[in-house]
């Protein structure tokens, strides 16, 4: 956004606030999210032309909707739309309809837009870009900065995604019940991917990257409002809110990462913890026991412990066992081994890790975990070897330096 004009900045803010609802509503008219987005952009151009002169209208959403609809009709009259759309648009002309109002409930259209943006005909990175563009209201430039890619890469990705949806004739609808669970999982996965991209940002990155954490939180909350009976969606929200509550405590004043058990818990964001625990409670009331709910529950065990020594490790070990049953994974087994080490002692943990090691031969955090346990057993020489190995395996320069420093200190 290079717009120096404050009036334009204000108009763009209005547009971003309205973007998802506007595109969703227009997409229902034209049955094509690509066309809907172009029409929304046209409405923005119209707003940029008239609002600086006339002021922001009392109902800017309705104004934008009217502008987009007028352009849809113009296109139609110029014969640039197929007959089928003509009929659909016929019902939507202003003369036949109440005054358009974006303040009306557009929940169903928003949900359709989410499902379509995360449609399985698209590659995961295309789903992410389209979701941030259409539902997050981010510009291609903002998405590019957040993902450390060029603007043209993202622009192309979005253009191709829209074309792929049109080519596959993906209907603008909530999927039928047979597909619904898998499609909803895809929407959750996209939101969680956005979250993790933001969460993995390091100090000195473009501020657009950590902002993805908040974009994901907002998308998750919107989704939870649209499908309030889905426990996994609440589980996802709980997981994200709880993780986000620690985002500011993971890095110390020197830019070094701080392990969970060493973090200053007073610095955790208690507002987000509260929200996370509430979302988890809703998920559990709905009988949720899927992967997001289980991970959120593990995160909640940490959030509930006022000091690290109060952590309910036996419960965490149980939860990892349940998680591994749903999604067998050596990384989950490793986490479980560390939880067991906290209750049954480091030697028990080491035995478990030795069993896991062949399945994770090049995973730096397995070596680091082994080093932690060896230190507790006062086997320092072996711990040094493991820390050096972990440093060799990691690609993150911050982590490598930290691991080597720990090795040197032993």
């Amino acid at each position: 956004m290079t717009e120096p004009d404050p009036a334009h900045a204000a108009i763009r803010a209005v547009f971003r606030v309205e973007h998802a609802r506007l595109v969703a509503r227009v997409a229902r008219m034209v049955r094509d999210v690509g066309v809907a987005e172009e029409l929304a952009q046209d409405a923005l151009v119209a707003a940029l032309e008239t609002w600086p002169r006339d002021g922001i209208p009392a109902k800017p959403g309705a104004w934008l909707m009217t502008a987009a609809r007028r352009r849809a009709l113009n296109r139609l009259q110029r014969g640039r739309m197929v007959e089928r759309k003509h009929e659909e648009l016929g019902h939507m002309t202003p003369s036949h309809d109440d005054p358009p109002d974006l303040d009306d409930d557009v929940g169903d259209d928003l949900l359709r837009l989410m499902f379509v943006s995360c449609h399985p005909v698209l590659a995961p990175e295309a789903r992410v870009a389209l979701t941030l563009r259409l539902l997050g209201g981010l510009t291609t430039e903002e998405i590019a900065r957040a993902f450390l890619l060029t603007e043209s890469t993202i622009a192309q990705r979005i253009v191709r995604a829209k074309r792929a949806l049109a080519d596959a004739k993906v209907p603008f609808e909530v999927p039928p019940s047979a597909e619904r669970a898998a499609r909803l999982a895809s929407v959750c996965a996209v939101i969680y991917l956005v979250f993790n991209e933001g969460y993995s940002a390091s100090a000195g990155d473009d501020p657009m990257r950590p902002a993805l954490i908040e974009d994901a939180l907002r998308l998750g909350r919107v989704l939870a409002g649209l499908v309030p009976d889905e426990p996994e969606v609440h589980g996802l929200c709980a997981l994200m809110e709880l993780h986000a509550s620690r985002a500011g405590s993971r890095i110390d004043a020197h830019g070094e990462s701080v392990l969970l058990l060493d973090q200053n818990r007073a610095r955790w964001d208690h507002r987000l913890i509260r929200r996370g625990l509430e979302a988890l409670a809703r998920a559990q009331q709905l009988g949720g026991a899927g992967p997001y709910v289980l991970q959120a529950e593990i995160s909640a065990c940490h959030a509930r412990a006022l000091v690290a020594s109060e952590t309910d490790w036996p419960r965490i070990a149980e939860l990892y066992t349940a998680l591994a049953r749903l999604h067998p994974s050596p990384v989950i087994d490793l986490n479980r081994a560390m939880a067991i080490a906290m209750t049954e002692g480091p030697a028990a943990g080491l035995r478990l890790i030795d069993d896991i090691a062949p399945r994770l031969p090049r995973y730096p955090w397995l070596a680091a975990a082994r080093a932690d346990l060896l230190i507790k057993l006062d086997r320092r020489a072996e711990a040094v070897v493991e820390l050096q190995r972990a440093a060799e395996l990691t690609t993150n320069t911050h982590d490598r330096a930290q691991l080597l420093r720990r090795a040197a200190a032993l």
Binding site: A9, A10, R12, A13, V14, R16, V17, I56, A58, D103, G107, G137, L138, G198, A203, P207, P210, A211, I213, E214, D215, L217, R218, L219, G220, R221, V222, G225, A244, S245, A247, G248, S249, A253, R267, D269, R271, L272, R275
Partner: protein
Amino acid sequence: MRFLMTYTSKHNHHTPEKAAAIDKLVADNVKAGILLDTGAILGLGTGGLGKLEDGKFMMSDGPFPETKELIVGYAIVQVRDRAEAVEHARRFMMIAGDGECEIRQLMGPSDGTP
């Protein structure tokens, strides 16, 4: 980014229509995932003003005459940038009526160093 917005108005009367419109705005903003918290703040007389001077704590219990006719509401929103926070303040005030709104950024997970 998170912003704390505090709204102050001398019009200490909300018509039922206005109250309903505010309720709808609140519900919409919760659904949009941006509103983290909101509420009304009662006059200073309900609590008081604490002060620490030279290490000595003092409590002033008022009276605080000017606060009586004011209504003060607050909201914490999570938005992408300042312009978006301003837009939400504008929307609220267009419904709530003449007054003033202070908008301040809160430290949050994506604001770099805590």
